[in-house]
Symmetry: C2
Subunit: 344 residues, 2 copies
C-alpha cells in the first residue's frame, strides 16, 4: 500500500489526537483573543496548506465576523512592503513548518505589530520558533509527498481557532468530525472500482463553492501531483464567468455538493453540464438523488454543511490515490517534487 | 476584424481618456481618504474584473501599506455573514456594473459600515447606484464577450486609487502608460506569425509572480474563453509547490517576466523547465536575452516593474485573439457565455 493511502486511512486517529490535545488550548486562546480584539486575520501558506487557508478564510469570516485576508507572500518576501497590522492576527500554516517564505512572512508581520500563530505538524520547526503561539497538529510524521492527513488536521485546527474567535463552531460539532472521517473511509472499495472509468482522463475541472471550495482546489492539486491530470479548479460562480466555455461533450467535471446553502446553485450547474453532454462526478450526501449526474459518490453520513469539508475531501483523496494506482504511478514520489518546497 | 481585436487596438485611447477624466477625482479622493484613515481594503469582483482586483491587491498593499482582502462574494450573498468593516474601503470592480452578486456585496458591506467605491465602465449601472463614489472607466461600450480594454482601464483606475492612498504611484509614472500600451500593440504582426506554432495546443500553464500574477490569470482566462485551451494559472511559487509535476516533454508554459524583483526567480524556473524539456514562451523586456526560453516576445519599451502589467498583458491579449483566429473560432462569441454573467 502507498504511504499516501496509509496516511489517508490514518486520518480518524490523527483528527482525534489533534482535537484531544488542542481543545483546552483553544479554550484559553478565546480569553486572550477577547482581550486583544483582533480586527483582521491574515492567513499565510503555500500548496496544500494554502488550500487549508482558503477553507479557513470562509470558516473564520462566516463564523467570527472578523475580515480575513489570504496573504500573498511575495508582498513581504519580494517587495518588502510594510503593512499596518497592529490589530491583526496572522496565522501561518505549514505541515513541515519549514516553508522559507511563510516563516519570513511570520517574522516580518510580527515586527509590524501582528500577533502570530503557527499551525504546523512539527513541534521543533522554524515556524514554531517564529510565532508567538503554536497550534500543533498530531498527524504523525508525513512520509508521502502528497499531503492528506496534514490537510485535514489543519482544517480541524482552523475549526478550533474559529471556536475560540466566534460562537458558531461548538465542541459538540467538532467532536463528531473524527467519526465522520472514519465513515467516509468506508467508500474506499467503491472508489477503487469507480476510478477504472477515469483511467485515460487527461484533463478535468473540479468545482465547488463556499466552505467546500478549498476542497476543489485540494482535489485538483492531488490529481495534478499524483495522477498528472491537468485539473482546473473553480468556484461555481467563477466557472460560469468564463471557463465554462471549455466544456464540450464528455469533458469531466468533478463537483463537491453537500446539502446546504450552495446546493441548489450546484444542482443547476450539474443540470447545465448535462445539457452540454459533459461527464459529471458528484460527491454528495447519502440521500441526495441527482439524475443529471453521470456518477455519484455518496458520503455515508448526513453532515451539516458547516462540518462537511473534512468528510467530503476524503473520497477525493481516495479517488486520487486509487487513480494513481490504476495508472501505475507512485503517488508517494511525484516527479519533480520533494516534501518541503523552498521558495521565497 | 473581430470586436475583440478592435477593442485591443483601442486601448491606448481608452487609457488616455480614462486617465484624463479621473485624474482630478483621484486627487480629491486623497484628501478624503486621509481624513477617513482606512485600515483595510476589500476588493470585490468576478471574472476578468477579479483578475484586475488581484492586480489591485498587490499594487495597493505594496504602495499604500493598507492590508487588502480579495472578497469571497458567497460569504455575503450565500452565507450572509456580518463583518466588522467600520474602517474598511470596499472597492467593487465590474465593467458592466450589473454583476448581481458584486452589487449585493456592495450593498451589504455599506450597511456594515464600509465606505464603498465602484470601478465600472457604465455610468448608469446598478453598481454606480450602489456605491458612495464611482471611478468611471472611459473604455467605450464593450461589445466583445472577452474583456480586454475594460481590464486595462480597470488596472489604470487602480493605479489612480493607489496614487490617492499612497506615495509610490505618481502622475508622471501614470502618464506614460497609454504610450507604452501603444508601443506594445506594435507586436501584433509578429504575434500573428508566432501563434501558428500553437495551432494544436490543447493545454498549457501560464505563470507569473507578484504584480504580473494577475496577468497570468487574465491570459489563461482569455485562452480558455476564446481558444478553448485548458490553461492552468499559477504564481511561480505555487507552481513549484506541486503542479510542476504536470510538466513533461513539450508541455507549453507561458511566462510573464518583466525585469525587476521577480525576474531572477522566474529565470531559474525557465531554466528548470528547459531541463524538463518543456516548451516555454516568455514575455519580457526588449534587451533581455534568455537562451533557455523556447520562444520570446519582447515588449518594445523598457518599463519599470511597477508599471509593467498594462503593457505586458497586451501581447497576451494579441496572442489569444490571433490564436482564436488561426483556429477558426469566433473570439467575440465564446460558446456558453454572455457579456453579463448573473450569479449570486
Amino acid at each position: 500500500m502507498s504511504e499516501m493511502m496509509n496516511e489517508i486511512l490514518d486520518q480518524p486517529q490523527a483528527l482525534e489526537r489533534t482535537l484531544r490535545a488542542e481543545r483546552d488550548h483553544a479554550e484559553a486562546f478565546r480569553d486572550f483573543a477577547r482581550r486583544r480584539g483582533f480586527r483582521l486575520i491574515l492567513l499565510v501558506a503555500r500548496g496544500t496548506s494554502d488550500n487549508a487557508a482558503l477553507f479557513g478564510r470562509y470558516l473564520l469570516e462566516i463564523t467570527t465576523g472578523i475580515p480575513v485576508s489570504l496573504c500573498a507572500p511575495s508582498i513581504h518576501t519580494v517587495y518588502h512592503a510594510h503593512l499596518n497590522l497592529r490589530e491583526a492576527l496572522v496565522v501561518g500554516i505549514s505541515q513541515s513548518g519549514e516553508g522559507t517564505d511563510i516563516n519570513r512572512v511570520l517574522h516580518a508581520t510580527r515586527r509590524q505589530g501582528a500577533y502570530t500563530v503557527g499551525i504546523t505538524n512539527e513541534r521543533h520547526s522554524g515556524m514554531a520558533r517564529a510565532v508567538h503561539e503554536v497550534f500543533l497538529a498530531r498527524a504523525g510524521r508525513q512520509r508521502s509527498v502528497a499531503a492528506t492527513k496534514t490537510y485535514t488536521t489543519q482544517l480541524l485546527l482552523l475549526y478550533l481557532l474559529a471556536s475560540a474567535l466566534g460562537r458558531q463552531i461548538t465542541p459538540a460539532g467538532m467532536s463528531e468530525i473524527p467519526g465522520r472521517a472514519r465513515e467516509a473511509l468506508e467508500l474506499s472499495s467503491e472508489i477503487d472500482t469507480l476510478v477504472e472509468r477515469y483511467r485515460y482522463m487527461r484533463q478535468c475541472i473540479v468545482v465547488a463553492r463556499g466552505l467546500n471550495y478549498a476542497n476543489a482546489l485540494e482535489l485538483g492539486l492531488k490529481l495534478m501531483e499524483t495522477c498528472y491530470v491537468v485539473a482546473e479548479r473553480f468556484s461555481s460562480a467563477d466557472f460560469l464567468h468564463g471557463p465554462i466555455a471549455l466544456v464540450e461533450r464528455d469533458f469531466p467535471v468533478l463537483v463537491f455538493m453537500p446539502p446546504g446553502k450552495t446546493f441548489n446553485e450546484l444542482r443547476k450547474l450539474v443540470e447545465r453540464l448535462k445539457a452540454l453532454r459533459a461527464e459529471t462526478l458528484v460527491i454528495t450526501s447519502p440521500d441526495t438523488r441527482l439524475p443529471a449526474a453521470t456518477r455519484t459518490i455518496h458520503v455515508p453520513s448526513a453532515v451539516p454543511e458547516l462540518y462537511s469539508p473534512i468528510p467530503y475531501i476524503i473520497p477525493g483523496q481516495l479517488f486520487a490515490a486509487a487513480l494513481a494506482k490504476v495508472r501505475g504511478l507512485d503517488a508517494d514520489k511525484p516527479r519533480s517534487l520533494q516534501i518541503v518546497t523552498r521558495t521565497i
